[in-house]
Structures are given as C-alpha cells and as structure tokens.
C-alpha cells in the first residue's frame, strides 16, 4: 500500500493501529474456512468517526475495504481479495446501554455475542440468537451474516432482534436506520437489508437489539432412536402438537459413533439417530411441554429417553452434542461446514439424500444440526492436503446444494454466501434475483469499495 495512504490511515487511528508488516498481515488472511487472501493493510478503528474517515479515504482512493469482526465466518466473508484494507472492528467493543424498560441493548459492533448474553442475563433479560461460535464472534459479524443458532426454531435469528443500526455507507457517510421501537415502517426497512448483507452495503458501527425476559425454567431431553424415520416423525409430531422446543438437535449414526469413540459417554453405537431437545419458559409450561414430548417419543418407539432438570444434569446430556466438533475431525482433519437448509417436513428426505451423496463420492458426511428449523449442517470431513479427495468434496457440495434446492430449501441458512457459495447463487436466485442484488450494490457503492468479490 502506498506510503501516503498509510500515513493518512495512521493519522486517523494512530500509528499502532495500522498493520503493514507481512507476517502480521498473514494473520488476517483467513477466517473459519480454508479460503485465503492477503490484505495490503490492516486497520483497527475505535470510533464511528474513525470508521467513516477510513471508508471516505478508501472511497476517494479506490481501495477495497474488507470489514472483519472476529474472523469466525464460515463462508469467507471477511477474507481480502487481492490486497485491500482489512477493517477490524474489535476495538469497538462497548456495551453502551441495556434498558430494562425499553427491553433493548445498544452495543458497538465488536462486542462478543457471549458477553452480551452474560450482561443481559445478569439482570434477568435474554438475547436469544446463539450461534455456536458465541464465545468468539462479534455482534457486527452476527448482523452481517444474520447469524442463527440452535434456539432459532423457537426464538428466530438475528434479524428478528435488530431494532436499529448505525451504518457507515460505502461512500463514508454516517446513516441511522430503525431505532428503539419494535414498530417502525418509516421508509424501506434498511436495517433488514443491512442484516445479512455480509459487509457489502455498509459497515455497522452501532447496533440496537430487542431483548426478551429470561425464561424462568428449562428442561432437557436426550432421546435415542432405532430409525431415522421415527426420529423425524417425532419432530413432526412435536410441532403439530404445538410444542416449540428452544432447541431440537439431531445427530445421525456416523456422528453418534464418532462421539462415542472419542468421548465414551455410553451412547449406543447401533442407534440411527439422537434428538436433543430443550424446552424453556415458566415452570408450569416447561413441565407440560416435556410431558408431551416424552409421550410423543414413546409413541414413536424411541429406544430410550433421558430427562434432566438441574443445570448439572442438563450439562451431562449436552455433553454428547458438545463433543461432536472435536470428535468428527478425528476422522480426517479438514471440516467443511455446510448449512444448506430445508423445510422441516423434508428433513428425513434430506438426510437420506446426504447419505447417498456420501456414498457416491466416498466422503465422510456426518449430519448433526438444528432439526427444528431444517438447518441440518452436513459436515464434510476430508483432508485438504489430498487434492483428489478435495475434488470429490467440491462435487459433493454442489449436489448437497442441489438436493436442498430440490426440496424447497436454501443454499445457506446462516453462514452466508461469501466467496464459498458464490458459484451456486444463481441456482437459487435466478438471473433476475441476481441482477436485483447487483443493482442495489451498484447504487450504494458505485466504486465497489465495500467487501468486493463477495456474494456475487
């Protein structure tokens, strides 16, 4: 990067907050995927004003800018493309306000999601979106990817909680959209447009989210099934009988076997599926719900059901689910997390298709995911140093997407398109949809400054 631009950046944020050393920049060339791209500089602003000045400068000088939170993204969203400036927002990490009266929180984009959870739960409130990366990922990243989590089935995803945003436009102006009210229909719903825009339409510098009262009680059930179909019909029955669990996680056979081999929790190796369910709410409601669930599971011929109430016992049941990540990479080191999502009713069919794909391409494809919302998280486990296998992986990924779309689903439930799913976008959106997206992007970012090369 040109000397005088570095000087200007240093003037904006201070010398120690601009990185141009090759070795340190390599540490900003990745995210949670195996994609890579080197920046020409990395800058760490501390205020909205600094962000605006940086983007203004970038727009004048035509330097691409790649916003970044914690770099946990799973679609390559924060990765630089041919140089450019990485804009890291983790210094902007203040929780500015938590209002019990208005039931909302105002935070800077670099606040870690888990930190917000703790802060609001300490005073009896609740911010439901719970991506599995919550101890690391930022609220800004959650907005940009419209992150979801296990609790999405009952509580929805990030966009269901965004009340207002402060955004730096791609030309460096400060814009506010939405506010502190649940109802707001003034103009286009830009906060919704921004949420999930993957850093291509603006840099989020302040976030106002809606909170809800913290549920008073919780119960957890771990249920073992001999057939995938009975697990699936259990899920269907639970929903039709009006129970909405806060989490409803499915683990398939391969996943169960991996977990048992590694963590030795006493899971049966011949089981076809495990459902992990958690209900929350008032004590009365929780007891009633768990009773209905137990009944449904038995009617659907589950092999075994365990129910836990205390935190300690619940944690024991969760152990199996938490052990999945480390267990499956023992098969092979490279994990490619997909998040193709299908309508709930199509879950059994999707699982079957995934098993076929796994056979056809001879790849490990354990499935464990959010059965409640159809976001199944097929994970391809491969070895990135084996080019022949990676070729098969690529083909398998294509087929997974096709299967999801065939069944009326979507390419991505929560990880975003980034660079990873770009080639498939047209399959879902068609030419018209794609040009609509591009038209919006061109209108607000005429110089293609913000996160170029992503989504399309």
């Amino acid at each position: 990067m040109n000397e005088h631009i570095i000087k200007k950046l240093q003037n904006i944020v201070g010398k120690q907050y601009v990185i141009t050393k090759a070795e340190e920049m390599i540490c900003y060339s990745y995210d949670g995927t195996f994609q890579r791209g080197l920046p020409a500089g990395v800058v760490f602003p501390a205020t909205t004003r600094e962000v605006a000045e940086i983007i203004g400068l970038a727009n004048t000088e035509k330097i691409p800018v790649f916003p970044r939170g914690s770099g946990t993204g799973l679609s390559g969203g924060s990765i630089p493309q041919n140089g450019g400036l990485v804009l890291v927002l983790n210094r902007m990490n203040k929780i500015k306000e938590i209002s019990k009266e208005d039931l909302l929180a105002v935070v800077e984009p670099g606040v870690i999601t888990g930190d917000l959870h703790q802060a609001v739960e300490n005073i009896g409130l609740f911010y439901p979106p719970d991506p599995a990366s919550l101890k690391t990922c930022t609220m800004g990243g959650n907005i940009a990817e419209n992150a979801g989590g296990p609790r999405a089935f009952k509580y929805g995803v990030t966009s269901d909680y965004v009340l207002g945003l402060e955004v730096i436009t791609p030309t460096g102006e400060i814009m506010r959209t939405g506010g502190r009210t649940v109802k707001n229909v003034t103009g286009y719903d830009l906060k919704r447009l921004m949420t999930g825009s993957e850093g291509t339409l603006g840099v989020v510098t302040e976030i106002t989210v809606r909170l809800v009262p913290k549920p008073k009680d919780k119960k957890t059930a771990l249920v073992i099934f001999d057939s995938l179909d009975s697990a699936a019909s259990t899920v269907a029955a639970i929903v039709t009988e009006g129970v909405i669990p806060a989490t409803l996680e499915l683990m398939d056979k391969l996943t169960i076997q991996c977990v048992e081999k590694n963590a030795r929790l006493g899971l049966p190796l011949d089981a076809e599926a495990i459902l992990l369910m958690e209900v929350d709410g008032s004590t009365v409601q929780v007891n009633e719900d768990i009773g209905i669930i137990e009944d449904i599971c038995k009617r659907n011929k589950c092999r075994k059901i365990e129910i836990a109430s205390t935190l300690e016992d619940r944690e024991k049941l969760w152990k199996a689910r938490r052990a999945v990540s480390s267990a499956i990479v023992q098969l092979k080191p490279t994990k490619i997390s997909e998040d193709a999502t299908v309508p709930r009713s199509k879950i059994p069919e999707m699982v079957r298709r995934l098993q076929e794909i796994s056979k056809k391409y001879n790849i490990h494809l354990p499935v464990f995911g959010h059965a409640g919302d159809g976001n199944l998280h097929p994970n391809i486990i491969a070895d990135k140093s084996d080019p022949e296998e990676m070729e098969r992986v690529e083909k398998a990924v294509g087929e997974i997407f096709k299967a999801a779309l065939d069944l009326g689903g979507t390419l991505s439930g929560e990880h975003g398109i980034g660079v990873m799913k770009k080639p498939y976008l047209k399959w879902e959106m068609g030419e018209v949809g794609l040009s609509y997206l591009k038209a919006i992007k061109n209108a607000v970012d005429p110089n293609n400054i913000l996160n170029p090369g992503k989504i399309f």
Binding site: E23, I26, G32, F34, S70, Q330
Partner: protein, 412 residues
Amino acid sequence: MGDNCKDILNKCSRCGGCQAHCPLYSETGRESFVARGKIELLENLQSGNLDWNDSLAEIFSTCLLCGSCTENCPNGVRADKLIMSARKDLVTARGLPIIKRNIFQHLLKYNGRLNKAGRLLSVYQKSGLQKLMRASGILNMLPLDLGKKESLLPQIVSKSFRENLPGLNKLSNPRFKVAYFTGCVTNLVKPQVGYSLLKVLGANNVEVVIPEQFCCGIPAIASGDIETGRFLAEENIKQFVNLEVDYVIMDCATCLSTWLKYPELFANKEAFDLAKKVIDINRFLVEILDIKIFSKELGIKVTYHDPCHLKRTPSGRSSPRELLKRLSPSYEFEEMEVSDRCCGSAGSFNLTHYDLSQNVAQHKVKAILKSQANVVASSCPSCIMQLEHSLKKKNLDTPVKHTIELVADCHQ
C-alpha cells in the same frame, strides 16, 4: 518440524475458538498473539512461504505457553506444543538470541562445574547474578526503565536453601520416603517454601532426601534450546533415578510439568519410571498422606490462584483447594473469579514483555481485591513472585504464599 507437529497443525480449522481463552488475545485483540494466527504462520513457514526472521521471532516469543488454547480447542489442537516446537525450529534456523544464549550457557557451565564442587548455581546468587546481568548487557537489552528492572529482579538469598541443609532428614520408621526436587526459585529466592515443606513432611513422619540437582530445564526448553534442556534433564534423571524413594516431591508447578515431559525428551525407561513417581506437594498431602490439620480459629480469608502448569496435571485443581479447606478454621477458603486464568508470569516473559505481562496480571489483582482475601495462596513460586509484584504495583500489601507455607503455619 516433526510429522507429529504437522498432524497437529493440520487439525486446526481456524475456528477462532482460542480467541476466547487466550490471555494475550484478550489484552491485545490481535490475531498474531493467539494460537490461530501462529498456526497460520507456521503453515506458511512449512510451505516455504515464509522464512524465520525478526518479526516472526518476536511473534513466537509472545506466548505465555499457558495452554489455555489447547485445553479449550474443539479440535484437540495442541497449540502450546506447536509453539514450543516452533521456538526450537527458530533456534535451529537462527540460533538463540544473545541474551538467552548467555543465560543458558552460564546455566550449563556453572551447573557442570558446581556440581563437582557440591554447590549449585552460584551464578544466581546475588553478586553472580548482577555480574552476569551486567556482563551480558542483559539489562540494557530489556525494554524497561531501570527502576522496573531492579524491582523485578528476584531478591536472591545470600545462602541458598539447599546449601543450608543436610541432604537427608533420616527418620527411624518413616511412613514414606521421598526425594525433594526444590526448583530454582525455592532454592534461591523463596527458601521459606522449602523450610515449610520440610517442616510439614517431618511432622507427618515422611523422610526427605534432597539429592544434588539442576535447574529443571524449562527456561531453555521454552526458548527452543532443547539441547540445554536435555542436558539438564539428563543430569536430573541421573541424580534421582537410583534413589530408593516412594515419590519425588515438587513444590513448583513449573518444575513438575517439566519433569512430566522428560519422557518426551528421552523415551527411556528411567525417564518414564521417574515421571510416575513425580508428585505435587498438594496432591501428596491430600491423596497420599490424607493429612489432618488441627488448627486454631483465626478465620483468615484465603483465595487461590491456579498455576497453569499445575491445573492440568491429575488432581491439579482439586488438591490445593482440598488442602486449603482442611486448614479451616485457621484459614477460610474463598474461590476468586478467574482463579484459573494465567497470571502472565511465564518465565522470563514478565521481563521481556513487561507491560503486556502486567496487563494480564491485573485481571488477577482485580479478582483478588474483589474476593476480599487476606492472603493469596498458590502452588508455583514463579506465579507467587509475579502476583507479589503486580499487587505491590497497585500499592496492595496482600501477602502471596505457597499453600505449603500456610499448612506449615498450622503445624506448631
């Protein structure tokens, strides 16, 4: 880099999970400080994209080796091991930095010579240390002002613990016979820890032998100078292997964890056999002796700091706490927040990266204050020195003691 390390390297999915657990990332917010960034750099080194240079040397020296990342990694990546091995590669590629070379070569040389003379490590004694520091220009190389440097230099006792003692307290009919590996800090800076240990073991009918011994080798190993580390390990093994004892006792968590790694340095029977006998004093008192302590009611509130090197050994978290609880009603144990967070000492890290190290320590200081403890206990003399310094820096006079010192206080 060995194949084993390559396999570990391959397992990292760049999920970023380590950010939430790395004390240096939480201070700096920079990827180059956390395991994930270092692993990416190692991969670049591996593929020939990068060569070792000054910036990389600095990046890889900036790690506490606290193992917090490893403990919490969902993919089982042993990042601290990788970083340690990277330091070894660095030394192979570029040699040791002068400052460390001086220290280690003195360590080696003096150990060797003094071994024959029957005395140890005079280099670390007051005049020797100062001379060494001056002669090697070490003080000038550290990025600190003189006042800070002086206040950080350990106050070396004029006569070392081991020099003051006979090598053996013979008992007629002991319950156990143990060998005591004192570690350098107890020997040269905190002899009161050693005296406390002897007092408690003596009172409980345990015979203690203190054989000739060397630095455990961790300063060298952690800096990538495996050769010196091996030399020291080998000498220690030689001194301890033929003793007829039930256990080898340690009061220093860092020495303990180094001894447990000796079999990795030497895959021989002696190293394995000894590693099986090595035990931390807290665990020995609780699990082996099942010590009963009859103390008077003082109600002194004590809290506990987990040394990184102890908490991941068997019973490493539970036995010091159990021991402290047995000191009631003299001492009343109170868990503090972030009790198992690294104190930032990490060998010479607190000298080479003073400000960062102190920032890490301030989280402990805050937690100690909040716990309202009258005294802080820990089980690693290095952590104790670091906590003492950081508390003093905030004008707090809360004493920091080894658990064994508190136990000894209750033995009248």
